[in-house]
């Protein structure tokens, strides 16, 4: 049974490694950032599967933290790296 969960988590790992292509050649920065967020989400899935496969319930806490902080980088990206809204407001004033 543990092998099953390990196999699925290996599958998810391959999945995000294929998605790496989008980071390497995404045409715009938001595309790259989205793929990073996708990494986080898939990471949560892998961690949950590993916690079952390895018999380490602590890993659920790691997954919880990933879910909590996963979108933080995206939010920072939108507000700090790509602040369109602020630029507009400044130009109006």
């Amino acid at each position: 049974m543990n092998d099953f969960y390990l196999a699925v988590s290996a599958f998810l790992l391959v999945n995000i490694l294929v998605g790496l292509v989008r980071i390497l050649r995404g045409p715009t920065p938001p595309d790259r950032m989205l793929m990073a967020q996708m990494f986080g989400t898939t990471g949560v899935g892998i961690l949950l599967l590993l916690s079952e496969a390895m018999g380490l319930p602590v890993l659920r806490d790691v997954a919880l933290l990933f879910a909590l902080l996963g979108a933080l980088a995206t939010v920072s990206f939108v507000r700090r790296y790509w602040p369109v809204e602020f630029a507009e407001e400044e130009s109006k004033e």
Partner: protein, 93 residues
């Protein structure tokens, strides 16, 4: 140690080495930051595989939460404002 764990660990290690190399040799700073966030996630998974969930927890908080945000902020401060759309003029609204 079944064959599956070997496959999983091998994939993880190879991906981390590749990711580390490509993020160090990357000229585009933003791309390097996104790659670094992805690398942090794989690093956390590696700590998990080494049965060190506490370090994985710290890694998740630091790489996904702290460094990602700080580095994105820094890159945003370095670059000129409104950098994203290259193929479209400032046709907002």
């Amino acid at each position: 140690m079944t064959a599956l764990t070997w496959i999983f660990d091998g994939l993880l290690t190879a991906a981390m080495v590749y990711l580390a190399w490509s993020l160090l040799s990357e000229r585009d700073l933003f791309k390097a930051v996104v790659l670094f966030i992805a690398f942090g996630l794989l690093m956390a998974l590696a700590w998990v595989r080494l049965r060190a969930p506490d370090i994985a927890l710290a890694e998740a908080a630091i790489s996904a939460g702290l460094s990602g945000v700080l580095l994105l902020d820094a890159v945003g401060a370095i670059r000129s404002p409104n950098p994203v759309p290259e193929d479209t003029s400032s046709d907002s609204g």
